[in-house]
Structure formats: structure tokens, C-alpha cells
């Protein structure tokens, strides 16, 4: 699946490990949480970093101790109506995950801003004209009602910040 950053397609050097496959050291593979848990000790022995793919029911807390050894976390949206991934992303960022946070699954243009706000870096999608859609989605709103871990200030702070009076216009 083509990988995009800020709407622009980029090279993806990672591959997903098949369900029946077993991981080997340093493969740049993305493992399910179960695969990671089963092979964790062996994998941590080397000096490599790994990728994890999360499903909505996975507990992100289980990755807390290993975050510095994980380079990519791919958060799955089984349908765009299932927004669990937005909260998983928030928790991962708050736990201090500095690697690539990737969104995969069924995601629509109207969620691009939310992905950006919740700390995602990249998006897997086979849609066309992602650049345009991304640009449109991220420019529609310039006023925000709430903080979200990004640098967009909620209105309740922005309206009291000096020199910010006209920012919304």
C-alpha cells in the first residue's frame, strides 16, 4: 500500500510480517502485537528496531517498556467509523513514542486533519490525488476548540494570548 507523508508519496522500507511467518533479527518488518509479545525477548537481543501493527482492541500500554526499540507503529482503522486509533495514537505520543506513527486501513479525507492533530506522521492509502486532498483537509479549519498534543492552540488559550486577536481572521 503506498505510503504518504503530508500527502506526498514516500518510499516504504518496511514490510508486514505474514500471520504464519516468524520474525528474524533486523528485517525491517512490522509485527502484530501478539507476534511481538511471543518473540520479544529474542528480538530485543540484537541491536535492531522493529515495527508493530496495532488493532483497535490492542492495549498500547503493553508497548510502554519497548518504545525506544520500536521505529514504526502502524495503527489500524478497520473502518473509518472506528475511531479507536485516534486515542491509541494520543496515548503512544504521551508515553513518549518518538518513532513513525502510521495510519492504515479505511480512512477518509475528512479524517486527515484528525490524523495530523493526533500525532500521526504517515498514511497508507491507495487513493489518488492525496496531495490535493491532504492540503484541502488541513486548510479547512484554522480555529480549534481543544488541545490535541499538536502545536495548534485551542481557542480558549489563543484568544487570551497577546497579539493573537486577529489570528482567526
Amino acid at each position: 500500500m503506498p505510503l504518504h507523508k503530508n500527502g506526498v508519496q514516500i518510499e516504504d522500507s518496511w514490510t508486514y510480517l505474514g500471520e504464519e511467518e516468524s520474525p528474524t533479527l533486523g528485517d525491517r518488518t512490522i509485527l502484530s502485537l501478539d507476534q511481538w509479545k511471543q518473540n520479544r525477548e529474542q528480538l530485543l537481543e540484537g541491536n535492531h528496531s522493529y515495527g508493530i501493527v496495532l488493532a483497535p482492541l490492542d492495549e498500547v500500554e503493553e508497548l510502554r517498556d519497548d518504545l525506544d526499540r520500536i521505529a514504526v507503529i502502524a495503527v489500524t482503522f478497520p473502518t473509518f467509523a472506528n475511531g479507536t486509533g485516534f486515542s491509541q495514537a494520543q496515548l503512544l505520543r504521551r508515553m513518549g513514542f518518538k518513532g513513525e506513527l502510521r495510519a492504515r486501513g479505511h480512512i477518509i479525507q475528512d479524517q486527515y486533519m484528525y490524523l495530523d492533530r493526533c500525532g500521526f506522521d504517515t498514511l497508507e492509502t491507495d487513493k489518488e490525488n492525496v496531495v490535493e486532498a491532504w492540503k484541502e483537509a488541513l486548510s479547512e479549519m484554522t480555529v480549534f476548540g481543544q488541545p490535541s498534543g499538536d502545536d495548534r492552540q485551542p481557542a480558549y488559550l489563543a484568544r487570551h494570548a497577546k497579539g493573537n486577536k486577529a489570528a482567526a481572521e
Binding site: T84, S87, Q90, Y114, G145, A155, Y156, R159, E169
Partner: protein
């Protein structure tokens, strides 16, 4: 009342434009109907039985004359000269065309209104006490924090695709008129021992097919931490709420299945992480919003003037029985001497509950401007309220209301029912509610009889989703489909106030032909068994339970 500043204006304008783009992408086929559905719902646009329906929010029920006039225009232009007030401080317009909706949203934005999140699996319009700011016993105006929550919840990047819809209600008074215990989150604004303002937070209340009374998750959260606390609740819900079954997806089920202790533990752990973060609403923002809800310029009356006004009112009541009747039920005491709260029930005998014509909206808008310091309210009981009326103006106000069919003297009486639109409009309904409501209204039209029955809340829903709050009705009526026939189940003893209770089913359902007789039997049974005229239906029911009613209802069978 709250006024938009440049941030709010920009927000609503941008949101209206965003929806215009979504409509265009739907019309071009770029968005499938499945993908468009949650987007249009998040903007209050439903596809009903016959046409689209647009649901416009009236945050915490407060509106100005200018806003109401705009709704009247929208009703004329895009509906059939009507609007319908709902049980969640919203107004619905039937029959708009999809391509007209962006224009309607622009018209709304021009008067600081919108339809944002009046539907969809997101945080819905925040509702509140319709007497806020006008009653003496209030701790703090609940609209201040309702507004804080409204802004925080709008287009929330993390909580716009929740397992299911999510409803807040906020009250600032110990007497609960906002049904906070029947909401996903209910907040009771109160003061702690140190005199600080904060809120008691209840979670997991709701109606629908599994009615639940909300449980207190924390007794007191200081006002600056309210957003952090509710965000913690929403995060726990978004992560753990069930998505495998739409009927088990509300937070009430999560709380029920996991237990309030486990949910509290998770929420408190999350709150500990985010307390003090940028979710802390600065005092200057709380002050800014509070200033909008400060008392309007009330006129002061001395004791002598008040006495003269009262004498005059007594004379008017003596001379005019209809006015006296309206005063008796529709006028409530105000915190400010010389003022009163006036209820306008949208429950004329035999009419459709909550419906109002555009011409009537214009009348109410004029009267709001003339007599109520330009502020009016919509209640979850499908009525309108003029919250700040000088007592000296009450007769003139009533005369004007009465000449436009808006002076029905039945606030709180048996004909002041909640009735959902039912199968006459709604795609979800399984039975009609409007004609049954109209028939009950006609059956109990006699005012002396209504007085004799006393305070009584009949609430009716045309399907299990319970928009008509039947679970919280002293008498609840639920219309269902039984093998192709519309039948009506009756529950007794529900209440949406601070003593909240879920009504209990009295027995097998009644057909459309039987149900109004059954209501009459229940009422007569109550009149026979009450200990005194002061014992209300709800008190009497709580004393005697279902059995006496069952016996009378099913005796013949």
C-alpha cells in the same frame, strides 16, 4: 447570553464551508453514501422517511430574538412554514433539499448558530437547565461550563468517531430540570466546602433500549479541571466502549459491564496524567464566558412598587379567568424581585407537541425582545420559555401569546406531554406517536380535571430509541410494531428529575384504539387511591407500586 467573537465566527464559517465541500464530493460521487452518512449526520442532516431533515442545535437552549427570527425564515423557506422543537434543545426542519443545506448553514452562521454535532457518533449538543440564570436556588449558571464543553467538543480530533453518540447535560441547581442522570455524562455544578465552584460528574446514564441511571464517578471536580476530567472519560470510552454491537455501544453498557469502580479507576488514572495540562481552562476564559451569562440589566422595584404590581395582577386574575389559569401553571418565581419566568407550552390541545409555525416564531421573537430582555429558551420538554419577564408585563405578554395560540395554560399538567415525531416523520420509528398524543390531549382537555390530576408527565416514544424519554415519564408510552400492528407499552413511575427513576412496565401492550382508555384508567385509579389531592401521581405510585394499576387495567381480561 453568549456572543461569538472572531474565533467562534471563523470556526462556524469554516465548518459551513467544509460541509459545502463534503456535499459537493457526495454529489460528484467521490464520497459513497456510506462515507457521506456520518459526515452529514455530524452536521445534523438525517435522511428520513420522506426527505432529509436538518437538526439545528440551540446550545443549552438559549436564544435571542434575532436567532429565532432566522429560524422562522428557514422554516418558511426550506420547511413548510414550521419548525419542531426536540427533547434535546434542538429544532428540526423537515423537507430541506441536500443542495440547499450549505446555504441554510450559512444563514445559521450569520446569527451565530449551527447544526454541528446534532447527530452522529460524536459529542452531541450540550443541554442544560432551561431556567438557568433565572431561578433563585442556582449555585452557578450551568451555561458557563456548557459553553466550555461545547467549544471543546466541537470537531474534536480524537472523539468524532466514537463507538456511539455521546450526550452531556449540565445543571447548576439541586432541582434537576435537565435530566442529568439520564445522560452519558451528567454534571451538577456545585460548590465545595471551600466555596470553590466545580462539578459532580455522573456517568453512564441513558435511555434507549437499556435505560440506566447515571452513577457518580467523582463527587467534585474543580471547574478548571472539568475539561481534563471529561476528556479522561471520553478517552476511556473511545478505547474500551464496545463496537461489536451497536446496541451495546453506549458508555452506559461499558459502565454496567465493567462496573463503576473499574471505570473510575481507569478514568482517574488517565485524569492524573492530563490534569494541569493545556486542558486546564484559564480563569480569564472562564471569566470571559461567565460575563456573557451575568445578570442582564434588571430593573429594581421597591416594596411599594412590588405591592402595587401584585395588586394589579390579582385584579387581572379576578377579571380574567384564562389569564388566572395561565398564571397558575405557566408562570414561575424569578430570582429577581418584580420578575417572573413564563412558560410557553407548545402543547395546544390536540396539537403536535413541539411544533411551532414560522409566524408563531416571529411572535415569540417579538415578545422576547419586548418583554424578556431579548432572551428566550427551549426546554427538553419541547416548550419555550421567556426567562426574564417583568411581573408588570405579564398580562400584556399573555394577551399577545393567547391571541396567537401560544397561551395554553398547561405547563406541568397532563396535557404538557413529550411526544417524539414517530412514524409520521422518523425513519427509525416503529409506531406513530403524534396522533396518540393528540388524542390524549383532547381526552384530558378539561382544565378543572387537569388541575385535579395535578403534576403529571406523560412521555411518549415511537420506538425503542426513546427520544420521547418514555422511561422517565410518570406515565411512559412506547409504540412498537407487533406483527405489523402498532401497539403501545405503558410504563409507570419513571422520573427525569433529581430523584430519577426508570418506569416499570405495567403489562401487555395496548392497541392504538385501547391506549388512550388505558391512560384514563391509570389516571382514574390514581385519583381513587391517592391519600390526598396533594399526593402527586409519582408519590402515590412510589407508595403503592404497579399492582393497583395492573388490576384495573387487566381486570376484564
Amino acid at each position: 447570553m453568549y456572543r461569538y467573537d472572531e474565533f467562534d465566527h471563523a470556526f462556524v464559517r469554516q465548518r459551513a464551508n467544509q460541509f459545502k465541500g463534503q456535499v459537493a464530493r457526495r454529489l460528484s460521487g467521490e464520497l459513497t453514501e456510506d462515507e457521506f452518512k456520518p459526515l452529514r449526520l455530524m452536521n445534523g442532516l438525517y435522511l428520513q422517511l420522506h426527505a432529509y431533515m436538518l437538526r439545528v442545535t440551540i446550545p443549552y437552549g438559549t436564544m435571542s430574538s434575532r436567532q429565532l427570527r432566522q429560524l422562522a425564515i428557514i422554516g418558511r423557506k426550506y420547511d413548510k412554514g414550521y419548525g419542531h422543537f426536540t427533547t434535546r434543545q434542538n429544532i428540526q426542519f423537515n423537507w430541506p433539499k441536500l443542495e440547499d443545506v450549505p446555504q441554510i448553514l450559512e444563514d445559521l452562521a450569520a446569527v451565530e448558530m449551527h447544526a454541528i454535532q446534532s447527530s452522529g457518533n460524536c459529542i452531541r449538543n450540550v443541554t442544560s437547565d432551561h431556567y438557568a440564570g433565572a431561578i433563585a436556588t442556582e449555585v452557578s449558571d450551568p451555561r458557563i461550563h456548557s459553553e466550555v464543553i461545547r467549544q471543546w467538543s466541537s470537531l474534536h480530533p480524537e472523539f468524532s468517531f466514537l463507538p456511539r453518540k455521546f450526550k452531556f447535560a449540565v445543571t447548576g441547581d439541586a432541582t434537576d430540570r435537565a435530566a442529568v442522570k439520564f445522560h452519558d455524562i451528567g454534571i451538577i455544578i456545585k460548590k465545595n466546602d471551600a466555596g470553590e465552584v466545580g462539578g459532580e460528574i455522573l456517568v453512564g446514564g441513558g435511555m434507549g433500549r437499556t435505560p440506566m441511571i447515571g452513577k457518580t464517578i467523582r463527587d467534585f471536580v474543580p471547574e478548571r479541571d472539568l475539561l481534563a476530567y471529561v476528556e479522561a472519560i471520553l478517552r476511556v470510552y473511545n478505547l474500551y466502549g464496545r463496537r461489536d454491537n451497536k446496541y451495546k455501544a453506549r458508555i452506559k453498557i461499558l459502565v454496567h459491564e465493567r462496573g463503576i469502580e473499574e471505570i473510575r479507576e481507569k478514568v482517574e488514572a488517565e485524569f492524573a496524567q492530563i490534569q494541569g495540562s493545556s486542558l486546564t481552562v484559564p480563569q480569564e476564559e472562564l471569566d470571559r464566558i461567565a460575563a456573557y451569562f451575568a445578570d442582564p440589566d434588571f430593573e429594581a422595584f421597591d416594596a411599594e412598587a412590588l405591592e402595587a404590581i401584585n395588586r394589579e395582577l390579582e385584579v387581572r386574575k379576578f377579571e380574567n379567568r384564562d389569564f388566572a389559569a395561565w398564571m397558575k401553571t405557566n408562570v414561575k418565581p424569578h430570582k429577581q424581585a418584580g420578575y417572573a419566568i413564563a412558560d410557553i407550552t407548545l402543547k395546544g390541545i390536540g396539537e403536535t407537541a413541539g411544533d411551532i409555525t414560522s409566524d408563531q416564531m416571529d411572535v415569540v421573537a417579538d415578545l422576547t425582545e419586548q418583554f424578556s430582555l431579548d432572551e428566550m429558551r427551549a426546554s427538553h420538554e419541547q416548550n419555550l420559555i421567556l426567562p426574564h419577564v417583568k411581573q408588570a408585563d405579564l398580562f400584556e405578554l399573555w394577551s399577545a401569546l393567547n391571541s396567537h395560540g401560544l397561551g395554553t395554560p398547561n405547563s406541568g399538567l397532563i396535557t404538557d406531554m413529550i411526544v417524539c415525531p414517530g412514524m409520521d416523520y422518523c425513519a427509525l420509528a416503529t409506531a406513530r406517536s403524534i396522533p396518540i398524543g393528540q388524542e390524549i390531549s383532547r381526552r384530558f382537555a378539561d382544565l378543572e380535571r387537569q388541575y385535579d390530576i395535578g403534576g403529571m408527565k406523560i412521555k411518549m416514544s415511537g420506538c425503542i430509541n426513546a427520544c420521547g424519554h418514555h422511561h422517565a415519564g410518570h406515565i411512559g408510552i412506547l409504540g412498537v410494531d407487533r406483527r405489523g400492528e402498532e401497539v403501545y407499552q405503558i410504563t409507570l413511575g419513571g422520573s427525569g428529575d433529581e430523584t430519577a427513576s426508570v418506569g416499570a412496565r405495567v403489562g401487555p401492550a395496548f392497541t392504538a384504539d385501547e391506549v388512550v382508555d388505558a391512560i384514563e384508567t391509570i389516571v382514574n385509579t390514581y385519583l381513587d387511591l391517592r391519600e390526598s389531592p396533594e399526593e402527586t401521581f409519582l408519590s402515590a405510585y412510589r407508595r403503592v407500586g404497579l399492582d393497583p394499576f395492573k388490576e384495573k387495567l387487566y381486570a376484564a381480561a
